[in-house]
Symmetry: C2
Subunit: 342 residues, 2 copies
DNA sequence: TACATAATTGAAAGCGCTTTGGGTGCCATT
DNA sequence: AATGGCACCCAAAGCGCTTTCAATTATGTA
């Protein structure tokens, strides 16, 4: 069933039926009713491809999903997507996900943009001096970046959390508790948030004249396993750190196991603060020793970004171009006063 | 830049350029080279919407993502998607993800199909007597189901793992180790895999004349937190179970914490076998007590389903319509002989 | 040399929708 | 009676591609 058939069925022109369906005012209410009724009966749905070709609008936002045989999927990706989806479903938008080799992301993004399949783009996992940024700017298509790109000028639309502030505050708390030996379990070294978090730690330490030694920093994928390994390494250092900053609750999971296996007590021998993206599968408050965290819901960010993206496409009012969300520092039992020097 | 402009630029007709681009044989190799060269220089990309309108093919597979403000995202979803993507990227396919309220899935699926946006559909999280099945059958569009629908006739294309066999084998192992008091931590009660896994346990027990008591079964979301709660409940039963079957390594995480908190030793006081979807963030072999698991890589299933779907759309050879994958039972340290009766 | 055949290329007709630029009545105003 | 304004509706022109059918040129055969 297409428009033509439907209009013949009704004895109307395609024009009128189209207008009736799209809520144009110049059509008689009675006719509109008739059309709507016929749609219900026939189950007619406009062909999206045709609609898109005619209007140029697709009703969809595009994103590229890095993927390759060895490439690890990411819990955070799913949770963020859920947030995007939650908002998208309210506006009858959908996503076009283009899987791409991580090395090919810039090209994939361009293909996606030029394909005419999407109205707007979304990118995440920003890196320092991210090469996608100049490309996006040249594109004349709305986009929003999740995160920022360290080192690049801040003239693009983004939503980010205050990673530096979060880890600065967390470090300060540990300093106030008397800790002097710190370690940082961070995400991969090129990622923007990892850079900023590290800077937060460093500048808080600097205020007390302390430095973060290179062997007290790990940059890894944020998995349980890497958390375990990184913590084991830290615990074997001659000057064992007593205060750990950790970029993810998933990674903290492994880290805590390492602490337990070493016969140490979390919150007493070792204090740990992790960043919590509020993943539904992992609640820091119900860890056996509840976790002190810096918190910001990834999902909420997804909702907000979808709002801005869809709003821009629909030209529904102006949106702030740049948002920086504060995180909450929530103190639980995994942090405590520094142990007496052994 | 569109086809018309490109063809004018080259002094050729749209027809020829189109044919050159799409690999038709009746175009001179020299001209084809010229066209390809021009494409490189101008960065021309065909408009997908137009292509789709003309051919009816979209180069995309559709799936609906259940989502709502309260709805939990799922690690497994991301991992599976990674598998789909890994294959899709090889064929220049993409996904159209339609977010939908979980109550509205059937309708969302139909909308997606009729929209003309996709060539094939994929559905997962199957339930017993799943209402999406009759709908899909009526649709005359290729689809593959991940999982099966308990109670419905097996006349649809699916890929599933042998959930019943997996849990049957796991239960038998525990029986052989002398266990007699069992508990099952399962997924939500309406889900197909949960039904089959339960049946596997029940039938293995039945062979020894044992039954699975109602208070030894939990049906919950498969999160860390729910795992903790469920295990706590089991441990307080008057006849405490010594053998636990668990539907997910994520859930096992919480369960193990509950065991530790109760001062019990995993693999001695309590034996536990979990199903392992091979999530990169959680490796059962590196748990503090390595986990005995039934294993089947979710990601591999994603790859395979994408193969079948894309293959069908491209009419590339016949694919088996129904596949049932065996799982591996991998014995590690979380299982041991039943403790002496207290 | 004449004619069939193959190799290339083009013109034009769609694909299903939106939207521009008219109509056609009908009523109130002069 | 003539005019203008409204309310409704329609024909047809695109949107950018593919594909059918026809035309043109090159190649081979008798």
């Amino acid at each position: 069933m297409n428009l033509k058939q439907l209009s013949e069925l009704l004895g109307l022109s395609q024009t009128t039926v189209s207008r009736a369906l799209n809520g144009y005012p110049e059509v008689n209410e009675a006719t509109r009713e008739r059309v709507l009724q016929a749609v219900k009966e026939t189950g007619y749905r406009p062909n999206k491809a045709a609609q898109r070709l005619a209007t140029g609008k697709a009703g969809s936002i595009g994103l590229v999903m890095p993927t390759a045989p060895g490439h690890q999927s990411d819990v955070h990706f799913g949770e963020f997507l859920a947030g995007l989806g939650e908002e998208a479903v309210r506006h009858d938008f959908h996503f076009v996900i283009m899987p791409a080799d991580p090395d090919d992301e810039v090209a994939a993004l361009r293909r996606l943009a030029i394909s005419g399949n999407v109205d707007a783009l979304f990118v995440a996992y920003m890196r320092g001096h991210d090469p996608r940024l100049p490309m996006l700017k040249s594109l004349s298509m709305p986009y929003v970046v999740h995160g920022r790109s360290f080192g690049a000028e801040l003239d693009y639309p983004y939503l980010d959390i205050d990673n530096e502030g979060a880890f600065y505050d967390a470090t300060r708390l540990l300093l106030q508790l008397g800790h002097t030996r710190f370690a940082l379990m961070n995400g991969q070294v090129h990622l923007d948030f990892a850079i900023r978090r590290k800077n937060g730690v460093i500048s808080a330490l600097a205020e007390r004249g302390l430095v973060l030694e290179e062997d007290c920093i790990s940059h890894t994928l944020m998995t349980d396993e890497q958390g375990l390994l990184a913590m084991e390494r830290f615990l074997q250092l001659p000057q064992r750190p007593t205060a750990i900053l950790c970029s993810s609750t998933v990674m903290a999971l492994g880290a805590i196991r390492a602490v337990n296996q070493a016969g140490l007590r979390l919150g007493e021998d070792i204090s740990l603060i992790a960043h919590d993206d509020v993943l539904p599968l992992l609640k820091p408050e119900s860890f056996s020793v509840p976790l002190t965290t810096t918190r910001s819901a990834l999902r909420a960010a997804g909702v907000r970004i979808a709002q801005r993206l869809i709003g821009t496409v629909k030209q529904a009012g102006p949106f702030p171009d740049q948002e920086l969300w504060k995180t909450e520092l929530i103190v639980r039992a995994s942090t405590g006063p520094a142990p007496q020097q052994p």
